[in-house]
């Protein structure tokens, strides 16, 4: 159990934005500001998917971006979790019947936590990342079980 504590307290987040209108992205950045300061929980934005534990995805994914998103997901080391931020990513939002989007994000990569809202508040995003911890922990337990 002691090993999993490290995951609870240190979570590095990679943010992939595809076709987002920048509103969700701004709210994600707002979580880093003095008002919300996620660094006090050990949550940190990193610049490379290889360093990340959680993938934050925003926006209705255009068809051209779908395979790039899949590659970003595959580049992340296990255990990993995916959080979708905003209405566009969860359901397609106002673009749900557009000819140009590849559908909601859970049709492209497995999603663990959805954060609806246009845009969602930073509190909601922090809550989602915390929920992603639970999933990462579950995965880690499964990995440990395999080793035994």
């Amino acid at each position: 159990m002691g090993k999993l504590d490290n995951f609870k307290r240190s979570l590095w987040v990679f943010h992939a934005s595809g076709g987002s209108c920048n509103a969700c992205d701004i709210e994600i950045v707002a979580a880093l500001t003095p008002r919300y300061d996620v660094e006090r929980f050990g949550i940190k934005l990193v610049g490379s998917p290889r360093h990340a534990d959680v993938l934050l995805v925003t926006g209705a994914i255009p068809r051209d971006f779908a395979d790039k998103l899949r590659r970003v997901y595959e580049q992340m080391p296990e255990p990993k979790a995916v959080v979708v931020v905003g209405n566009c990513g969860t359901s397609g939002g106002v673009f749900y019947d557009s000819y140009n989007i590849a559908g909601p994000i859970d049709e492209i990569i497995p999603v663990d936590v959805y954060v609806p809202g246009c845009p969602p508040r930073p509190e909601a995003i922090i809550d989602a990342v915390v929920k992603a911890w639970l999933k990462v922990e579950k995965l880690e337990k499964k990995l440990e079980g395999k080793e035994e």
């Binding site: 490290n6 660094e39 255990p79």
Partner: protein, 321 residues
């Protein structure tokens, strides 16, 4: 090799890793407070390392696997070796007599070099760009760094760090040369963030432009080793600056006459305090206050401005000593 040396050679690196992570935690906490955030707990770097060690370690398909995996180990080993050459307060350096300031210069270079080679071996364009930037930056700041070391060799007629630590530099030079030493100190303080790849000179690891640069493809255990070597190097660099410029012992300032364990305990804490102050001044304050330079700006700063300051300092020492 006496048993004592072997004990120190094991104990110092362990202590160094611990202290490096603690200093990194303090650095993050203070940096957060300076931007009116609460900041992570001081234990945060330990949790980060613990987590990285649990993660999967990926070797990219088009990387040169053996080089890619060897470089984090080389960086970590060279940073631990670096610790063995630094006299902690009144303690002698464990490898005293086996090397001197020039070896320290090489070990500092080796670490940056290992990161750059690891970046080239990753087979990712981001890493290659990062590694090239690191090489350019290294070529820029090595000259002022070497000038500082030559300056000290001129004063003491010796490269040994223990000789330098035993007599404070300010007490044996003329006022003119003391001004030169001050200029060398300014030059070394400017080189510190570049040496440690911290803002404003973290151009090789710019996370927003080139996806963490040299480290872009590293994950899991390899990344943890780089993280540790970065922490140790930060502590070691600040410790070197303290040994070179502020080797004053607390008992000599206050006129205390301590002996035995009390002496070692008090002096060790005093040394750690001095290192912390230098670390906060040279790294935390600077990285919180400045944005990132472009590589050509950084190169110009070191080749023109810092070099001028360092060479002027060297000239004053040469005239004044």
């Amino acid at each position: 090799m006496t048993p004592e040396t072997i004990f120190y050679s094991v104990a110092f690196p362990l202590l160094g890793v611990f202290l490096g992570l603690v200093y990194k935690g303090i650095d993050r906490r203070i940096s957060a407070r300076l931007t009116s955030r609460i900041g992570p707990p001081i234990r945060q770097p330990f949790w980060d390392v613990g987590k990285l060690l649990l993660k999967e370690t990926i070797v990219p398909k088009n990387a040169i696997a053996w080089l890619f995996n060897a470089m984090p180990i080389l960086a970590f080993a060279s940073s631990l070796t670096l610790l063995l050459y630094i006299p902690f307060g009144v303690l002698k350096a464990p490898l005293e007599g086996y090397g001197d300031l020039v070896v320290i210069l090489y070990l500092l270079t080796l670490q940056s070099l290992a990161m750059a080679i690891g970046g080239f071996a990753s087979g990712s364009p981001f890493s290659s760009v990062g590694a090239q930037r690191e090489m350019v930056l290294m070529m820029s700041y090595e000259m002022p760094l070497a000038t500082v070391i030559v300056g000290f060799a001129l004063i003491y007629r010796s490269f040994s760090l223990t000789t330098i630590a035993s007599t404070p530099v300010w007490s044996i030079v003329s006022p003119l040369a003391a001004f030169g030493v001050l200029l060398l100190f300014v030059a070394l303080l400017t080189v510190t963030p570049a040496e440690l790849a911290k803002l404003p000179f973290d151009i090789a690891e710019a996370e927003t432009e080139i996806a963490e640069g040299m480290l872009a493809e590293y994950s899991g255990r390899n990344l943890a080793l780089f993280y540790l070597s970065d922490a140790v190097r930060g502590f070691a660099m600040a410790a070197i600056e303290v040994v070179l410029f502020f080797p004053f012992t607390l008992s000599s300032i206050l006129g205390l006459s301590l002996t035995g364990f009390a002496l070692y305990a008090v002096e060790a804490l005093w040394f750690l305090l001095k290192v912390l102050i230098i670390y906060l001044l040279a790294v935390t304050l600077v990285r919180t206050s400045f944005g990132r330079f472009k590589i050509d700006q950084a190169s110009r700063i070191f080749w023109v401005h810092v070099n001028l300051v360092a060479l002027l300092g060297l000239a004053l020492i040469w005239v004044g000593v």
